[in-house]
Symmetry: C2
Subunit: 243 residues, 2 copies
């Protein structure tokens, strides 16, 4: 059985200008792999309405789940919620349940809730809220799109809220071995192994250390016995060079 | 005058499985910003022929430059060069100039050049080679697509080879200031400032430190005087809260 698929959409000028190094993609990738959901594609777009809507439409048609990161704060450049509503052709307004969450939060920390902060209670019609235990302002799920914050601590908390609600598959298992040979020496046998095991994904990642060439070989698959057997075959092929 | 645009395509299962954290996107983003080339979109796809070809076709039609990272080594999962040839509908084979570079390199380090290593001399017809001073195996430019290695040290060296050959624009200038107020308090005045300066990109990045809320405000634009004026206006609006 095939695992469910996913895509991620990272939204933010600050990533594309090089000011900020995205951390959420790597985090989500690891979490989805553990959950048995195959991350197939990531896109990063700027805070641009047309670009966001086009990407959401393309990804939500093609994959079982879409996760977005960024653009749901109180400032003028936070336009993700409005874009998602537009992509799904539904209305968006301040919603009572989200407003109540924000009111309780700001009352607790003794800060007035103003028009800008209320923007964070704008939720597309028909969406389910995603709990945000870090800073209260909720994310939301509309259809197969999960809309989450860009701040890494909040993103992580929202992923933890969403993942248990999704249907996962078999976790992707992986084993790796270092082979102290150049990639060019490993490529032949590795290609044979890959051909003999079409259900496995076999990757080679070269490195150089203390003047010696080596490659980290990673074998990934959903069937533990198949991963083990391929790894054993690889190790016996390379003998002492496999560490 | 508008700056030239760019997109990046990161190719590799290891990024999407969470095994490896991509470093090339952040590096390229910073280099392009300095060169006055606006990075508009990034996509990450797996080592899948159809996915790579579809992404290349979509991006090279839409942007002035496309930079790819990954999938040009000697092993079976390195299929980028063949996919680029297919996307441009040109032939691909071992090319004499690329083969000569590899032969010289392996002769120098005393390693035999075998069939797998020769795969790295497969270059689509009509492409120009990109110099690789780190490990010799060249990248290439075909049309507006620059095909580079995924290993970060090699990627950086190839970016250094390619960038001087491209037409840049006005570098994107940026100034930032920390304002020790919650984003919700800053959002109103910031929205006004953004509306009054449509040519500038004004971003707000909230943080929390020692229990206090603050936001890093970044103003980006190609006109130094406009960036300065907007920053002055922002600082006078927030007085002592602007650090």
């Amino acid at each position: 059985m095939q695992n469910p698929t996913a895509a991620m959409l990272v939204i933010g000028d600050e990533i594309l200008s090089g000011r900020t190094r995205d951390a959420n993609m790597h985090y989500l990738a690891g979490q989805l792999t553990e959950a048995g959901i195959d991350l197939k594609e990531v896109r990063v777009v700027s805070d641009d309405r047309d670009a966001i809507i086009a990407a959401v439409n393309a990804l939500c048609d093609r994959y079982d789940n879409v996760f977005t990161s960024g653009g749901i704060g109180p400032t003028h450049d936070d336009i993700t919620a409005d874009c998602i509503a537009a992509a799904f052709d539904v209305s968006i307004d301040v919603r009572d349940d989200a407003r109540a969450i924000l009111e309780a939060h700001y009352a607790r920390i003794g800060t007035e809730i103003n028009e800008a902060r209320l923007r964070m209670a704008r939720i597309p019609a028909g969406a389910d809220l995603i709990d945000n235990p870090v800073s209260s302002a909720p994310g939301f799920t509309l259809g197969n799109v999960h809309v989450m914050a860009g701040v890494p601590s909040v993103f992580k908390a929202m992923v933890a809220s969403v993942l248990p609600t999704l249907t996962g598959g078999a976790p992707l298992l992986s084993q790796s071995v270092r082979i102290m040979r150049g990639e060019g020496d490993i490529a032949g046998p590795l290609g044979q192994l890959a051909k003999a095991n079409p259900a496995l994904s076999i990757g080679s990642y070269p490195f150089q250390k203390d003047g010696a060439f080596g490659s980290q070989i990673v074998i990934r698959g959903h069937d533990a016995a198949a991963v083990n057997a391929a790894m054993d075959a690889l190790k016996s092929e390379f003998g002492d060079a496999a560490l």
